[in-house]
Subunit: 97 residues, 2 copies
Amino acid sequence: MQSPLPQRLKSARKLAKLTQEQLSTKLGFDRSHGTARISQYETGKHAPDYAMAKNMADALGVPVAYLYCDDESLAKLLLAASKLSKQELDELVQKLS
Amino acid sequence: MQSPLPQRLKSARKLAKLTQEQLSTKLGFDRSHGTARISQYETGKHAPDYAMAKNMADALGVPVAYLYCDDESLAKLLLAASKLSKQELDELVQKLS
DNA sequence: AAAGTATATTAAGGAATCCTTAGAAAATGA
DNA sequence: TCATTTTCTAAGGATTCCTTAATATACTTT
């Protein structure tokens, strides 16, 4: 029952080609604690609250739900779907429902 | 920057036609505190950790990521996609990628 | 290979949040 | 209304997080 957030956060940050310090700066953190916190999130030592998760997801260009997705296929679906236009997305949803 | 979890949890529980006490029983909680905790989660007073969120999502038959989804269209997509077979889901992902 | 730099990780304690308890408030139905 | 079910809330002990300070790992250059 491990949280998928650590791994997903790390992979999303790598994909965005950011260091922990660059991400922490984007989030408006003081340099001194910023990287420590992000490291704690990525290693699973501590868990961010929702507001922080949302901020990080926005900074990394992934849907916040992606960080909590335990299913690999659904995770990929979220990433792909988030790149569709709102109209395309709604059409897809309609078709599946 | 409010968490979507309270609302999503409540609506998923309603959809499953369970009371807070029935859900708490399903989760193996002692009756005395079970409903208090679920109420605190649904009113946004407190936030569950990931393991608890996953347990609740499983008990309610929704993907755990759904509880954290702030986008309505993506939320609907997750619900619909979670009802597909693994093969259908993977084909859909392939098509979008 | 060593030194220097950048990047990432960790321990500890004060700060913040959660979980349990006990009870009260709403909602539902007879 | 009364009884019952269902949901909500305050308070404090228990737990977890955030900051600080320092160490560890990875990368570059010489």
